[in-house]
Subunit: 361 residues, 2 copies
């Protein structure tokens, strides 16, 4: 195993669209989503270990999840857990992690992973990561994995591929990034064959991404531009606690990927879902003849079709007469919602919080 | 208070139509249905106490509910709790209780009450019971309370009233009993003004009802026709454990009321519901502008109408897009069902039991 290779796992998100399973105090990456006995975070770390040794896995999360990470990943050193003092989206998180790793190893290359995605084809995943690391170690390149789209999903970002790269089959220049398109545009993207889903999996060297911050996003780059011997050193925590909250809250796509001129995409088929929504989970779940899917639970569903049932714990759901609904029951909250309305869930969660208090979200 | 007056409270039912609130190990009569801090059984006993002293209140229930009754009614002597060794509907229960009471007091008159009904007009209720007891103490009469119907409910039995009784205003001979009619017939009943809902509240003396068993239902009467000094005596329990399971399982209506020629009805307005079904509860619950009712719970219900929400414990329900549904969540079971389909609940409960086990019903 190449000891200059690192993995950054981003695991500080709140996942409110998966309420009431995903909760403020235990978001979806910490849940055993598929009843396998392992959380999405644990699956994510296990998946990368053949490529990156556990000592080179860096977790970036919000302070409040420190204990749960130590509990779920006892093999990870505490010094490998970076605790954000505030929520500032992905760009500052990635910038900090790159500085932290660069201080450990000036030759470091890094794969950055979300902690809450589904990957069915693990071998293909690891092979793509390895090849991607080879690619970025050979020049100042920013690489993202692009997923072959299977439907005109309007919940994903899209990447348009440009010209190929000699000697690197499957890797192409990126022409454009497009945020969540409307359905008509998503259909055009799908038909064109030029567009891929943005997986949120990024590969680069520590040096290359920090150069990119300096060039394309100095408002973040400058914040993390600390004196030598700050990172991976005793002063790091207090420096971060002081500096981090002053960062703008923006995504890495917006801060760097949409602006840089050295961005590439490696197109892959990973059996991937970002599990971003109940519908995404519904699509990846086995369905019965009526198109009902259930997540690890006991269901009797006469006259139901196209519906998704999920329950926390050993519980029976009896549902009659639901067409295309989500039923999600967990702890002190129950959600019953047409699948078509799931984009309202985030707003509903806010209403629950305002009306009934923090304890229910 | 007339010390010859007794009350029999029948509290051995399983109330499966109220699943998942009503459970085998704690049926609806033992639940604090309205969040008042008292169970329906406790409310039932309190309601009758100004008419019948606590020492004359006899509870008849299934063996398995002994402990819960002792817990809920600490003022009741254990010797006043009659424990059925098997479920045999209301006729054997009433026959046993009458023998038990007759042995205590040959002059006893008895009002028999279900333990799981709602009565809003408690004064009217007590006055009707008192007048009814006066009536049956003046001759060999079987009296039932008939409720002025407010809608063509197809879930109730109906009583057709006949001629009046001189000197007893509000009491009339019964012409016919009719089991749950279809909607068309229920509408005719309502329009005629001659029909009343069968409340299941019966009034008679111990002697009169036992004579009626001998005459109209000897197959039960004979089973309970024990030697002197059996009832309300040390040998009662073993006699009952031996004899009771051999009784046919039939209702008092079928065994006696539909056959006897000395049956009368006292018509009353009690603010009564048998709370037999979720719809019955829905009808008696306050509704918001969209016709949604909630039982003691936290609900956010965009685009919902005509629906009933009930939850056990401190829990939030978020429901969107439900029209005329029942949502009932309690313990390890969740029911979501169109209100129009509630007659299927009993059958669904059986399916739950068969498929997932006793633990869920």
């Amino acid at each position: 195993m190449n000891s200059h290779r690192y993995c950054v796992v981003m695991c500080g998100g709140v996942g409110s669209r998966f309420w009431p399973f995903s909760r403020n105090d235990k978001p979806k990456q910490f849940l055993d989503f598929f009843g396998t006995g392992k959380s999405l975070l644990q699956l994510t770390v296990e998946r990368i270990l053949p490529v990156v040794g556990i000592e080179n896995v860096i977790l970036v999360t919000n302070r409040q999840y420190r204990d749960i990470i130590i509990e779920q990943l006892p093999g990870v050193k505490e010094s490998n857990i970076l605790l954000e003092p505030a929520r500032r989206n992905t760009a500052p998180c990635i910038c900090w992690a790159a500085h932290h790793i660069l201080a450990l190893d000036p030759e470091a290359s890094i794969v950055t992973l979300p902690s809450d995605h589904l990957v069915l084809k693990e071998d293909a995943f690891r092979q793509a990561i390895s090849e991607g690391l080879d690619f970025v170690e050979n020049g100042p390149r920013l690489l993202t994995l692009g997923i072959q789209p299977t439907n005109p999903n309007t919940g994903y970002g899209y990447i348009q591929q440009g010209s190929g790269v000699e000697g690197w089959p499957g890797i192409r220049k990126v022409k454009t990034f497009t945020e969540k398109p409307n359905l008509e545009m998503a259909k055009m993207f799908l038909d064109s064959g030029e567009f891929f889903w943005n997986s949120g999996i990024f590969i680069w060297t520590a040096k290359t991404i920090l150069n990119a911050f300096g060039k394309y996003c100095p408002e973040i780059g400058n914040i993390f531009d600390a004196p030598d011997a700050t990172y991976s050193a005793p002063g790091e925590e207090s420096f971060i606690n002081e500096a981090f909250p002053g960062s703008p809250s923006i995504s890495i796509d917006y801060a760097i990927m949409e602006k840089a001129d050295n961005v590439f995409v490696k197109t892959v088929d990973l059996g991937w879902s970002d599990l971003g929504t109940w519908n995404a989970l519904y699509e990846t779940s086995p369905q019965d003849e009526q198109g009902n899917a259930s997540q690890n639970c006991k269901v009797i569903a006469p006259d139901c079709s196209g519906s998704m049932f999920a329950v926390g714990g050993d519980k029976v759901i009896v549902a009659a007469g639901l067409k295309d609904f989500i039923v999600a029951d967990n702890g002190n909250a129950l959600l019953i919602c047409p699948r078509a309305d799931e984009q309202k869930i985030r707003q509903i969660v806010n209403e629950v919080k305002t009306t009934f208090g923090e304890n229910f979200v």
